[in-house]
């Protein structure tokens, strides 16, 4: 996978680039919006990380230019501005996701993975199969080893979100945002409580646990090796 990092802050850029390289990605860097835009349009990248506020061409404008040039590469926008309006601005400009500084690298990595995996909007996968678990989005039904799971709507949404990123870590923040639109940090371990309920229905009584915890990061739905 080829990644492009556009950020005028050398430390953040190096931190993100080093982290991604350790995961085996090829990483290019740009220190300003103009160079970044040029590289994004010339190179064939799988994902682009762009800082929102840069002198010269801002991240918002760079993404806008990429989109108006027809570039469809997933873009994750980084920012020090975290208000809902700022997120909306970023997404309106054409970014696919939005991450507020300071962030944990695991959060960034999980979000990039989710972006790369995100199928084109038109043919959203309607059916996910992970081991003997089948999540049928269209029928709003989940089965494990042929047995129908009795899930509440909230539980189904959570399972579907995990299934959509099967094999990839999904962080608590991503779940809070995508499931309920919570853009704040609840004091309580809300996600953990929901996961524990979901586990009781999805994993209990079956031969292996499909919902796995990744310490310090979040959860992943996958067939254990």
């Amino acid at each position: 996978m080829r990644m492009l990092i556009i950020d005028d802050d050398a430390r953040t850029r190096t931190f993100v680039a080093d982290g991604l390289r350790q995961q085996g990605q090829t990483v290019d860097q740009a220190a300003d919006g103009e160079t970044g835009l040029h590289m994004a349009l010339e190179g064939d990248y799988d994902a682009i990380v762009v800082d929102r506020m840069m002198p010269g061409l801002s991240g918002l404008d760079a993404v806008r230019s990429m989109r108006s040039s027809g570039l469809k590469t997933p873009v994750l926008m980084l920012t020090a501005l975290g208000a809902v309006d700022d997120r909306v601005d970023g997404l309106n400009a054409g970014a696919d996701d939005y991450l507020v500084k300071p962030f944990a690298f695991s959060e960034l990595s999980a979000r990039i993975q989710a972006l790369i995996r995100r199928p084109p909007l038109v043919d959203q996968t309607q059916r996910h199969a992970i081991g003997d678990l089948v999540v049928d989005v269209a029928a709003h039904r989940a089965t494990r080893a042929g047995q129908v799971l009795d899930l509440t709507p909230h539980e189904f949404k959570l399972l579907e979100r995990l299934a959509r990123n099967a094999g990839q870590a999904v962080t608590r923040t991503m779940l809070l945002e995508s499931l309920w639109g919570f853009h704040f940090d609840p004091r309580a371990n809300l996600i953990d409580a929901h996961i524990s309920r979901l586990r009781a229905k999805v994993d209990r009584g079956f031969e292996c646990d499909l919902i796995q915890t990744i310490r310090g990061v979040g959860y992943v739905l996958k067939q254990p090796e």
Partner: protein
């Protein structure tokens, strides 16, 4: 010291006061206006007076000419000479010269008249020196009689010039007097202003020097000035309140930051000390990271709160069904409550549509439920209900915890306020402040009451007319 010196240096002198400047400007304007008026009066008056004199001369001339034409100029001369012996000075000066050489004159000379027509003789002093000093300041009219004799009549117009001079003198001196009066008035009112404003300036100086509680005295020059002082005082009150709030906020932030930063530091020191014990080290690092996350969350919450309170966040107002919103939030929190062995009961009357910002209302409700989770037990028993009452949508969250004593109910809405400073429960101390700000931004009311036992929070929001 230096500030008060500067203050005195820059105190305006009476010569530069607005009152005096206005007085000077107005007296200049008045002077110009009066001069124009006097010039107009002078011109009009002279025209009128001259016309009178000319009429008089013409009339006199007609009488003389009628005589001369009927009896001849020589007869007129004779008659006039006879008459002059009986009567001395006449109003009109006459000169008659008959063709036979006989003449009559009672002071009018050939030099003062034209061959025919009107002539205005300048006063002696205004006449060039080469002219004989014989013609007084007069207007003359001359004509020829039928027999060729010269008829001339003149009238002294010295009095007209005197009148004119008098008017000019009067105008000049009264103008000067008025200007002086206006300047004196301006100076006096300027001084009065300065003296009244001096006390205000002194008060301002004290405020600048840091005596924040000083307020401006009444100016005492009129209602509008006192109103100004009153409004300025109100502004100062607000500023002081805002400043006090800011001070306590920065103290709060510093305090709230110190604790987690200290914990991060301690953890990192432990890591440094136990660098070889890989498991313990990883655990310490993870906890240190969690602490930094808490600091980030605190900042995030503070920023959001500040933006809501300052009106910096434009509310994304749309019709929101409060019952739907509460159902969702309760479903999100129910597993957590039940896992802790508590129960979360709901009673919703629906639909209950208001105009509001769903995201902010959701966060406010989440904060209240979290408060109930951390303070509402044990065992945790939470009731969330909605109802419509008196055109308002009421959202009520009640718990069965220790509640909030009446005296503390205002204070718990402040940032970082904790009833029990040793309270170990997590949280930024901003939850209720955020709720209050959100309710305020929606034009609603927040009420903290007694659930005996426990706390009952009621949010009343204006119900949508459309709903």
């Amino acid at each position: 010291m230096s500030s008060s010196n500067r203050n005195r240096d820059s105190a305006p002198s009476v010569w530069s006061t607005t009152g005096l400047r206005y007085a000077a400007a107005f007296s200049l304007l008045f002077g110009l206006g009066a001069a124009v008026m006097v010039a107009g009066v002078d011109y009009g008056l002279m025209r009128f007076a001259e016309a009178e004199v000319r009429d008089g001369l013409s009339h006199q001339m007609e009488v003389m000419r009628a005589d001369a034409d009927r009896h001849g100029t020589a007869a007129l001369v004779q008659e006039l000479n006879a008459e002059a012996r009986n009567r001395d000075a006449r109003r009109y000066l006459l000169l008659v010269e008959a063709p036979n050489g006989s003449t009559f004159s009672n002071g009018l000379t050939r030099l003062a008249v034209n061959a025919t027509g009107f002539r205005r003789n300048l006063p002696n002093k205004a006449r060039p020196a080469r002219w004989p000093d014989q013609t007084p300041n007069m207007m003359t009219l001359s004509a020829r009689a039928a027999d060729g004799g010269l008829l001339a009549v003149g009238r002294d117009i010295q009095h007209l010039d005197e009148l004119r001079g008098g008017i000019r003198h009067f105008a000049l001196w009264s103008g000067i007097a008025l200007i002086l009066l206006a300047l004196a008035g301006g100076w006096a009112s300027g001084r009065l202003f300065l003296r009244r404003l001096e006390s205000v300036n002194q008060a301002v100086g004290r405020i600048i020097a840091g005596q924040d509680s000083t307020r401006l005295p009444a100016v005492g020059l009129g209602r509008e000035f006192d109103q100004l002082a009153l409004n300025l005082n109100r502004m100062l009150d607000r500023q002081e309140a805002a400043l006090t709030a800011l001070k306590s906020l920065s103290e709060g932030v510093a305090h709230e930051l110190r604790a987690p930063l200290n914990r991060v530091r301690n953890r990192l020191e432990q890591v440094a000390a136990r660098i070889d014990d890989v498991d313990a080290r990883d655990d310490m690092i993870e906890r240190a990271l969690a602490e930094t996350d808490q600091v980030s969350a605190l900042f995030e919450a503070l920023l959001t709160l500040a933006r809501i309170e300052s009106g910096g966040v434009a509310l994304h107002v749309a019709p929101v069904d409060l019952a739907d919103l509460a159902t969702t939030v309760c479903d999100i929190y129910r597993p957590l409550v039940e896992e802790a062995g508590g129960d979360l009961r709901t009673l919703f009357s629906r639909p209950l549509v208001i105009q509001g910002d769903a995201a902010l209302l959701q966060q406010a409700l989440a904060n209240l439920i979290e408060n109930a989770i951390f303070h509402g037990g044990p065992p945790i028993g939470i009731e969330v209900s909605t109802r419509a009452s008196d055109g308002k949508a009421i959202l009520r969250i009640a718990d069965r915890g220790t509640g909030v004593p009446e005296a503390e109910r205002e204070k718990v809405l402040r940032r970082f306020y904790r009833i029990d400073q040793a309270d170990p429960s997590p949280g930024s101390g901003l939850g209720l402040a955020m709720v209050a700000a959100v309710v305020n931004a929606h034009g609603g009311e927040l009420h903290l009451g007694d659930n005996s036992p426990g706390l009952a929070v009621e949010i009343a929001l204006p119900q949508s007319q459309l709903g």
